[in-house]
């Protein structure tokens, strides 16, 4: 290869080898056993470098194999579609941010540090919790880290989790705690309201003296509000367990934040705060705790703090680094290094744009649109609410016919329906990106398919 835009020194090889004092690049690999040295190039479907233009053609080809939907998905399950303001995209496209790395040298990366500190600060206000780290991977892994924090604090090994939490979070949790051998106990939920079965919860928690952590998700997987969070925090205190609350961040424009419940640790995902769906990733795991040294010292991940420089000026730097893997190795609070910093900045920009007024307006709009949709769908003959509790953004319905018939009908019309959660049940998500017109189309299409199936 003579020239390549990303390999500037191809034409200088000889000159550089001369300075080094060897004849051939392979002289720099004389310590590699000859028998395993690669002969020839990799065997990839792309032999010659593709030009940028050719890459875009391949991209176009792949894109054409994805289906073009008419409306944003009516699908949630841990990720709901939202509008990402251009200002958010614009800021995270600033390459001083996105081509940077963890700000090890604070003096030259004050801007990045301040942006991350602002993320932490805005989440702290949203959650009413004092300490927030600079991000984890996603909600699922944040939950797993919280549970392992609890284990490090109280050395107990059982974790009580509701059956109505996000099932993907549950799967992640199971994988992550496998190494430590922690035991997961599931608390059933009330099939009528959709809320946690608080009586069972009390029973289960009281009957064990090994409960390390109790988790609750608000609203839960079915979009239903949990009304008795206090029961969990009370019982957690009673048995010396750490209370962990998962929370939909946009719902906090309307409902009580974790801080108002004296929750120990809150976890969430910032996807709803300015991130596109990204086919499931990157997301951004949020973790926040109360102002309690025991919690803070066991917190995983980077934390940016406000401090001063040697001249007494305001300055930012990574703090409490003795928790981290590079300093503490096997005694670290986590192995995490690379996190989701850029997504955290997106969250900070998003929350700044919305502000106090916008957050409330957004939460109300989502509440209203999802309720409107559910009401209208329930007015179709045979369609009923799966759970009776009040809800936010997502809701589950029971249909008079197999939901997969509805789903495939909708898809034919360019609409991605809800997540099937039973033979004739599905979970829908409605947000500010679903206009009344789109919602009404969804409703009439569902009506149409139900009527036509029932007629036949």
């Amino acid at each position: 290869m003579e020239m390549h835009p990303w390999l500037p020194n191809l034409a200088s090889i000889k000159e550089m080898l001369e300075v080094i004092g060897v004849n051939d690049i392979y002289d720099l690999f004389s310590d590699v056993p000859n028998e395993i040295l690669l002969k020839g190039d990799f065997d990839l479907p792309y032999k010659e470098p593709l030009s940028e233009y050719e890459i875009t053609l391949r991209l176009k080809e792949l894109k054409s194999k994805n289906m073009k939907l008419l409306t944003p998905p009516f699908m949630g399950g841990g990720e709901c579609p939202h509008y990402v303001p251009e200002a958010v995209k614009f800021i995270i496209s600033r390459s001083e941010f996105y081509t940077s790395y963890t700000p090890y040298q604070p003096e030259i990366t004050q801007g990045l540090l301040q942006a991350l500190f602002e993320y932490q600060s805005l989440i702290a206000e949203l959650f009413e919790l004092e300490v927030v780290n600079a991000s984890l991977y996603d909600w699922g892994s944040a939950l797993a880290e919280a549970v392992m924090m609890a284990n490090r604090i109280n050395k107990k090994t059982s974790i009580a989790i509701p059956a109505n939490i996000n099932p993907y979070h549950k799967e992640v949790l199971k994988t992550w705690v496998y190494g430590k051998g922690l035991k997961i106990i599931e608390i059933p939920y009330d099939k009528y309201s959709g809320e946690l079965d608080y009586e069972k919860a009390k029973e289960i928690i009281s009957s064990s003296n090994d409960i390390s952590a109790i988790y609750i998700q608000q609203p839960n997987y079915y979009g239903v509000f949990e009304e008795e969070i206090e029961t969990i925090t009370d019982y957690a205190k009673k048995v010396g367990a750490i209370s962990i609350m998962g929370v939909n961040p946009l719902s906090l424009g309307l409902i009580k934040p974790p801080g108002e419940y004296e929750i120990d640790i809150a976890v969430s995902d910032g996807q709803e705060l300015g991130l596109p769906l990204n086919y499931g990733g990157p997301l951004v795991g949020i973790m926040a705790t109360r102002w309690d040294g025991q919690l803070v010292r066991q917190m995983p991940g980077r934390i940016v703090g406000l401090t001063k420089d040697s001249n007494g000026n305001k300055a930012f730097t990574l703090i409490l680094q003795t928790r981290e893997q590079f300093a503490r190795r096997e005694k670290a609070t986590s192995n995490i290094t690379t996190n989701e910093a850029l997504m955290a900045i997106a969250n900070a920009v998003f929350l700044s744009l919305l502000g106090k007024h916008g957050l409330k307006a957004m939460a109300e709009e989502i509440y209203a649109r999802s309720h409107y949709t559910k009401q209208k769908l329930e007015s179709i003959k045979g369609v009923t609410s799966a759970y009776q509790g009040d809800f936010f953004e997502e809701f589950a319905l029971r249909f008079p016919i197999d939901y997969s018939l509805i789903h495939s009908h909708l898809l034919k019309r360019g609409i991605l329906g809800g997540i099937q959660i039973g033979k004739s049940e599905a979970l829908f998500c409605v947000t500010e990106v679903h206009t009344k017109k789109m919602i009404d189309t969804l409703i009439s299409e569902i009506k149409e398919v139900i009527e036509s199936v029932e007629a036949s």
């Binding site: 940077s100 963890t102 604070p106 003096e107 051998g181 001063k308 910093a341 920009v349 700044s352 209203a368």
Partner: protein, 500 residues
């Protein structure tokens, strides 16, 4: 800029930075009546600012940051290579798709992921890769859990030791601990390599595996890797490859051919994905032979010309991430791979190693610096020691770092690896032009010169940055530690005390 905090922006005005769409017809018909005990008492203390204020604020913060696009960032073990701009475009392949939508509707995405699974396997010499892991450390955890489950499947309850080189990245022991393992460190020998005798001594029926980087953190290739592999495999322990240093050998030799059973790759290091100011990255965890069945699920499979993202290996450890990992960044790596092709990719390890050794030639004879361990060629990176300089002048590796900042460069990784005093760990990568390497070497030469003439000038650096050196005591003391503005506010209102 001396830019105030966004939380400090005057919040008395009713301002908003973006309009929320409103469906009047719906709003008129739906009442917002929450269960009263759930209602938020007081709206959160968010700023109230216009779009201009938000943009101007964050633009100014960005100008006070430093990325590869602004200058040379030879952070050792981080592989801060140039991130081609075409990657951002290709990432649009996935942005608007929901992870749970019907596979039929995302065949383009799945085809890309499928190609990536097999191309990464080819480049590492493994049989299969899973892209579940959002970053390197998650990949390590996955690898450790795979090893654990493997031994459990063989009913080896006493396999509770994980071997780790003493020069390893901190993530290795941390991951081993998260997997419930005891960590046994393997000393580095005088050559800077794994001490084979020590290894043989500690490897036994308790050994679950060995987490190793090759080239190691000193930039040296473990030339006895085939022997190491033999030692481990003799007790059926598994050899795990930490992919952080893959860039030094990509296209020259493959981990699979060295005898590794499991490999994790940081796509944000070796495959050009931007580091995002700390993240998101993207990872892959690859396996060979029987270990393939332990990979985290799901993987993309192809059946009758259709792709589905639902393959679950028979002994899979489970899911590592909520959905499929950071597919958005996998798409970026895909663009990078297409842009180089196998011809270009085969040059990466050679050109990065060339850059390192070129830089070594320019620096190795400088008074004040020593090159610890073997004088063999380094691969992706090199670790110098500034111990002589420190002894002579009191100027430390950290001081050199700060002085480099004043000269427009980012500092190398310092104080790592732990087996080198006053370490300066420099990884130039193959994407930096020779002229940049020349000017970096020249800057270090000048700093050392100055250190011998007028050490105070170096000790006072940086002086051209937004702030001078940071007060780490205020930053970390329980009475002053300030992780959020909320803490600052509550403390100034006397509402919180020391962090106990």
């Amino acid at each position: 800029w001396d830019e105030q905090l966004i939380t400090e922006y005057k919040s008395t005005s009713n301002r908003v930075g973006v309009l929320i769409p409103t469906e009047k017809e719906i709003r008129e018909n739906v009442e917002i009546k929450l269960p009263s005990k759930l209602k938020r008492a007081k709206q959160p203390e968010l700023p109230q600012v216009s779009e201009l204020e938000v943009i101007r604020h964050f633009i100014r913060l960005s100008q006070m940051s430093f990325g590869v696009d602004t200058g040379f960032m030879p952070l050792g073990s981080c592989t801060m290579k140039y991130n081609p701009k075409i990657e951002e475009k290709v990432s649009s392949l996935v942005s608007d798709y929901h992870p749970l939508q019907d596979f039929d509707t995302v065949q383009g995405i799945l085809e890309m992921v499928y190609e990536m699974q097999s191309m990464l396997a080819e480049m590492t010499g493994m049989d299969q890769c899973s892209l579940q892991v959002p970053a390197g450390a998650a990949g390590e955890l996955a690898g450790v859990l795979m090893i654990k489950k493997y031994h459990e499947d063989k009913n080896r309850r006493n396999r509770d030791e994980m071997l780790v080189a003493d020069s390893a990245h901190g993530t290795n022991p941390a991951s081993a601990a998260m997997g419930g393992y005891k960590v046994v460190y393997i000393r580095t020998n005088k050559e800077g390599l794994v001490d084979l005798d020590v290894l043989k001594e500690v490897t036994n029926e308790k050994t679950a595996g060995f987490m190793l980087t090759n080239p190691n953190t000193l930039g040296l290739f473990e030339s006895e890797i085939l022997e190491i592999s033999k030692v481990l495999h003799s007790v059926d322990a598994k050899l795990y490859y930490d992919g952080a240093n893959l860039n030094g050998i990509l296209g020259v030799v493959r981990p699979g051919d060295m005898g590794f059973d499991i490999v994790h790759i940081n796509l944000h290091k070796t495959f050009g994905v931007p580091h995002g100011g700390g993240g998101p990255g993207a990872g892959a965890i690859c396996a060979k032979g029987e270990m393939v069945e332990y990979l985290p699920y799901p993987l993309v499979q192809k059946k009758d010309g259709k792709f589905t993202f639902d393959y679950v290996p028979s002994r899979s450890i489970g899911k590592i991430a909520t959905f499929y990992g950071n597919i958005g960044n996998v798409a970026r790596a895909y663009a990078y791979i297409l842009g180089l092709g196998s011809k270009g990719l085969s040059m990466v390890g050679k050109m990065s190693t060339l850059a390192t050794n070129y830089l070594i030639s320019k620096l190795k004879d400088l008074r004040g610096l020593s090159l610890p361990f073997s004088d063999r060629p380094r691969k992706h990176e090199v670790v110098f020691s500034a111990k002589p300089l420190f002894n002579d002048t009191g100027v430390s590796a950290n001081d050199i770092a700060k002085a480099l900042i004043d000269r427009g460069f980012y500092a190398p990784t310092i104080y790592f690896p732990p087996n080198v005093e006053e370490a300066l760990m420099i990884e130039p990568t193959e994407t930096e032009p020779k002229e940049v390497l020349d000017s970096y070497a020249e800057a270090i030469r000048q700093i050392i010169d100055e250190a011998y003439k007028n050490p105070q000038a170096i000790l006072n650096s940086p002086s051209k940055t937004a702030v001078s050196r940071i007060d780490q005591v205020i930053a970390n003391h329980p009475s002053t530690v300030t992780p959020t503005y909320r803490v600052y506010r509550l403390r100034s209102e006397g509402k919180i005390s020391h962090l106990k």
